[in-house]
Symmetry: D2
Subunit: 141 residues, 4 copies
């Protein structure tokens, strides 16, 4: 799956926001994606933890990559749900997404987000969402 | 509610990530919050729209501000769900959050996110989540 | 909108489960739906409240009716999220759903569920979900 | 874990709604629960599939049993999200819930719902939610 991971990296490189905050794609296959994000001080909130919005960005993007790789077409995240499980204290966020079901126009995907603190990984958020092929995202009203 | 809005601005100023991406608090009361985010090129994804993770950051933060102002204690977002309704094309994101219910340890809050393009505002995302007083967020396992 | 409400009642009458638990459609328009459910002892859980699954059934169905009436085609609920706000004690559940956005293949809809206890209505749950035209619901795997 | 499963069955027997629709607890441990529901005609909607509200009831209840068994106290489901993945055609619904994180006052739990059609099991829904110890569920407003 190195070819697909390389292709995914080239897509990530075209996302200004992902570059801006420093996301790294470590693995991509038709059924899964792994995104990393080194935690810098600029990504934190007032209590010194990584901001929840940073965690949800990473989960959202991992869901989209996994679903898009599964469907093989340009996609967007239609919707997602995230439970924040523990304060994010550590050096690196790791989001692992896995496709649950795959159709022609949408995929249902789950994502676990871990924080790596030294050698330990701890689950810090769990997400689930729907990835949709691009033309489905233009509402009439 | 100017005092509460000013207090909220002082909190937002202590969130490095919110400063980093440029969020602005425009209104805060015990039952509501309004956060803005000017859309710059760095906040976009590969199709030229604001990245979904940016939209979810703003919704998440607006939910937290509204719930925290309602509960009057330090809080975190426990969980949230967001539906992305249309591609975000415009100059400014505006997230308006409103508390639906308020308890001693948690609040349920909704948030509508609009994109302002010229004079028009269009709904681009809808979120709903749970805000919890801080001590509830430390799981044993 | 009496014609549409009557049409909706005829659809509800063809749902065995809705008949089984006693749901009543009180209003249907292209942008909204109101479903009622008299609370009987059989709909309760062990603490004497209406079961959460009953509340989620009603929210789900109200979302589907509102979205389907808006789209004008046979639909299913693709996904939904529900926050349970207070224990359901009273005589009647009332679910009011409202379409937030409407496209050719999907709608985003919100629903508030109230419990009526004597003359008072109290918000007991808040839901949000995606309604999709039927052919989109057949995944390949 | 036979003792805990037996204890769970005794709880399920005190839920009138669960008895009404015919749910069966097949397994319960501090980290997991498995609930079954034989699909009868009364549980269907107008297209002949099991009603989405039936699926969400089963997911909700499985989440609550798994979370409650994990926390060891009376609990309620605070919130949940469900993605419906395919039309439910078959003889039996099987909901398997698994605790992701466990705290003093809340647990985050996932649930997969399968439909058994002959010898095959197919994933038909995926849910995720928060289970909360009972006293947390009384909002002030």
């Amino acid at each position: 799956m190195q070819d697909m991971t390389d292709f995914g990296k080239s897509i990530l490189a075209t996302q200004p926001f992902s570059q801006f905050i420093g996301a790294e794609l470590h693995q991509l296959s038709p059924g899964s994606a792994e995104l990393h994000l080194p935690i810098t001080d600029t990504l934190k909130q007032q209590h010194g933890f990584a901001h929840g919005g940073v965690v949800s960005y990473l989960a959202d993007n991992a869901l989209t990559f996994a679903g898009g790789a599964g469907m093989g077409v340009p996609v967007v995240t239609s919707e997602m749900k995230i439970n924040y499980i523990r304060p994010v204290i550590g050096e690196r966020l790791i989001a692992r997404a896995k496709v649950l079901s795959l159709g022609k126009t949408q995929a249902v995907v789950r994502c676990d987000v871990f924080v790596k603190d030294g050698e330990k990984e701890k689950l810090c958020a769990a997400a689930q969402g729907t990835i949709t092929a691009l033309p489905d995202k233009k509402p009439d009203i």
